[in-house]
């Protein structure tokens, strides 16, 4: 029986979060893998009929992980919708807020999620591969620094964003509060501490990962490598910017494929629908969809910290630039036409994330020291709304909000491309490759299968739920292996 004859019914596969299904062929090798997550339904219907200016406060609720990113993309979409260009003071206060958010978000990913695989070890029992395990391994003092980093930046987020968890300060063309001189002094000090912490984290990565040949081999192994296109937002110098800029895409050889304004996303990005997944698969329209495959002919692209480094020519701040160069030199990238060739090793994303952490901290200090941030940040809206698109780099990928309204500003159409969705195809490919290495000729290496597959998708920092976090507050990962006859041969789950 051919593996093609197995029917896949998405309805039967909706019971779990983060479910991975692996289908084997007649030889007992991996034929296909499916990475599935439940879809939240009815978001557009929920928004249509509401005033557009509510969107920064609605969309910051759709994700419990990156409310700040949705708040900012929504606010920028309102700038465009009401055709009001923010002053440079507004842009600076917003970017300052956004940099503080990056400092918390990248920190938690490295220390709580991605880091445990390296710091505690990829072979360590699952129960120890968490932030508590990291604390035990590296010491209480470092754990305290992690929490302190998060606390001081959450303090800035609350100060500038109006609320601690779900910010409310974004307005069309403006920001609801400016920065007082006392607050400015405090933020300068916090930014300096962030730079120290980022440098410390990069040193920790060098000591723990780069100094360990087994880890270096793992990072450089083909099992975790994919040659795809890379996307990221860049400034006028083609340096990374999280808050604003042009979208740049480079091909797998590092050559610029296209650079476009975020408002033109629909001319460049198309979304593939697969019968087995409710989550769409964005791809580069002008390359075309060739399936879940690597290479220059495949429209699959990736939008992650690694992608942003690959898509840019460098970092806009000096210390981050030095680490950017070290990153490419260490990973064996050559310079062609003045820019480094892309690094395709997906596990290097963890290192790229720390380079970005340092950039966020340095950028935060630049903005905090800028006298303009204490100026007026109000804006007056005069134009009738029609349509607006706003985009930022969410920590886990380019985030685009697109709103259409009637002349009173009541929403008639809403479209979002969220960070993780960009990476849906690459995640699927990474999961398949990891599985294929562990399942050959019908032999399934169950030991470590779950963790190695987790490592394959965890580096993308996927934000799978984008909202639902009912108790017990964690998502069970389940891996099911089916043979060519459609029989279940293995089922692994981290829930006992």
């Amino acid at each position: 029986m051919s593996a093609k004859r197995i029917t896949i019914d998405p309805i039967t596969r909706l019971e779990g979060h983060g479910k991975i299904e692996i289908f084997l062929n007649d030889e007992g090798d991996v034929d296909k893998t499916y990475f599935q997550i439940p879809e939240l339904r009815g978001f557009e219907q929920f928004c249509v009929g509401r005033p557009a200016e509510e969107m920064p406060r609605i969309t910051n609720r759709i994700c419990g992980v990156c409310p700040e990113a949705h708040h900012m993309a929504a606010t920028k979409a309102l700038d465009a919708l009401f055709a009001v260009e923010p002053t440079t003071a507004v842009h600076k206060v917003r970017e300052l807020f956004y940099s503080a958010f990056y400092c918390t978000d990248h920190t938690v990913h490295f220390y709580a999620l991605g880091g445990p695989d390296f710091v505690v070890g990829p072979e360590a029992p699952a129960a120890e591969r968490n932030i508590l395990g990291v604390i035990h391994k590296v010491g209480v003092e470092i754990g305290k620094q992690v929490i302190d980093c998060r606390r001081r930046n959450h303090h800035v987020i609350k100060m500038l964003g109006g609320r601690g968890v779900h910010p409310v300060a974004g307005l069309p063309g403006g920001w609801s509060r400016s920065v007082s001189p006392d607050e400015q002094k405090e933020i300068v000090e916090i930014s300096r501490q962030n730079i120290e912490f980022a440098l410390f984290s990069l040193q920790l990565f060098e000591d723990v990962v780069l100094a360990n040949q087994a880890y270096v081999d793992l990072v450089l192994s083909d099992a975790y490598a994919h040659r795809t296109y890379y996307m990221g937002t860049v400034d006028a110098n083609n340096h990374i910017n999280f808050y604003d800029g042009m979208i740049r895409v480079v091909d797998p050889d590092g050559k610029e494929f296209v650079k476009y304004h975020p408002k033109d996303y629909a001319a460049h990005i198309a979304e593939r629908v697969e019968p087995w997944s409710y989550l769409k698969f964005p791809y580069l329209k002008n390359v075309g969809w060739k399936g879940f495959v690597d290479g220059n002919d495949s429209g699959v692209y990736c939008a992650t910290p690694l992608s942003r480094l690959n898509a840019a020519d460098g970092m806009a701040t000096p210390k981050a630039q030095a680490f950017y160069e070290k990153f490419y030199e260490t990973l064996g990238s050559k310079k062609v036409n003045g820019r480094y060739q892309p690094v395709h090793f997906r596990l290097a994303t963890h290192w790229a994330r720390l380079v970005e952490l340092l950039y966020a901290a340095e950028r935060m200090l630049e903005l905090a020291e800028d006298p303009e941030i204490t100026e007026n940040v109000r804006a007056i809206v005069k134009n009738k709304p029609t349509e607006g698109i706003g985009s930022v780099e969410a920590p886990r990928g380019t985030l685009t909000h697109h709103y259409v309204t009637d002349e009173k500003g009541i929403l008639t159409k809403v479209n979002l491309i969220v960070g993780t969705t960009n990476n849906n195809a690459p995640i699927t490919m990474s999961v398949k490759k990891a599985a294929a290495n562990l399942i050959q000729k019908g032999t399934i290496v169950t030991d470590g299968l779950l963790n190695k597959i987790e490592m394959a998708f965890r580096n993308y920092d996927p934000c799978m739920s984008c909202a639902t976090h009912s108790l017990p507050g964690q998502m069970p990962l389940e891996v099911v292996v089916w043979d060519a006859e459609g029989e279940e041969v293995e089922r692994l789950s981290q829930f006992v």
């Binding site: 983060g18 439940p38 879809e39 939240l40 339904r41 009815g42 978001f43 219907q45 929920f46 609605i58 609720r61 759709i62 994700c63 419990g64 992980v65 409310p67 978000d105 938690v108 990913h109 709580a112 999620l113 699952a126 129960a127 591969r129 968490n130 932030i131 508590l132 604390i135 035990h136 209480v140 754990g143 305290k144 929490i147 998060r150 606390r151 959450h154 601690g164 968890v165 779900h166 987790e454 920092d461 996927p462 934000c463 799978m464 739920s465 909202a467 639902t468 976090h469 009912s470 108790l471 017990p472 507050g473 964690q474 998502m475 069970p476 990962l477 981290q494 829930f495 006992v496």
Partner: protein
């Protein structure tokens, strides 16, 4: 004693927002002095977060009461109210491991916070309401879950008196 009441969930995701609605109601009742004053310091907040960020909200409190939506494995009864403790949460997720998006479990987060020497509540009580629908966007919970809001509010107010 400092007590924090946290309503957890997404208020725009049908039943997921049940905890937030409980928090709003408690905040309203406390603000209108409909309940006898206690000597306790009580804060009420709401959030759509878990894990570390939730633990961080708890720093400095002696007691935390959480209201949240609950997807119970196995047999389901939407609207059923569970009073859980941290020990119960440990039993629900015995591996303490998160394959989740971006964070860790509350239990691991609290253990980490304690290991780091933060003042965290000795007592964490969770009022968990079994949900029917957490996959569709709506501000209105389903009937069974909506009916659970008042009893949970009442139960939390009773806890606050002790």
């Amino acid at each position: 004693m400092k007590t924090l009441v946290v309503g957890l969930g997404n208020p725009y995701l049908t039943d997921d927002g049940v905890g937030v609605k409980v928090a709003y109601e408690i905040e309203r009742i406390l603000a209108s002095n409909q309940q006898p004053a206690t000597n306790h310091h009580i804060d009420v907040t709401e959030a759509s977060v878990g894990g570390l960020r939730l633990m961080e909200l708890m720093i400095g409190y002696d007691r935390v009461i959480i209201a949240d939506a609950f997807t119970k494995p196995g047999e389901r009864q939407p609207g059923r109210i569970h009073r859980l403790t941290l020990d119960d949460l440990r039993a629900i997720s015995p591996t303490q491991h998160s394959a989740s998006a971006h964070d860790t479990t509350l239990v691991t987060a609290l253990d980490s916070g304690r290991a780091l020497g933060f003042h965290l509540p000795d007592e964490v009580i969770i009022y968990a309401v079994e949900v029917e629908n957490v996959l569709e966007f709506s501000e209105e919970p389903t009937t069974a879950v909506a009916a659970a809001i008042s009893p949970v509010v009442e139960a939390v107010l009773q806890e606050l008196k002790t």
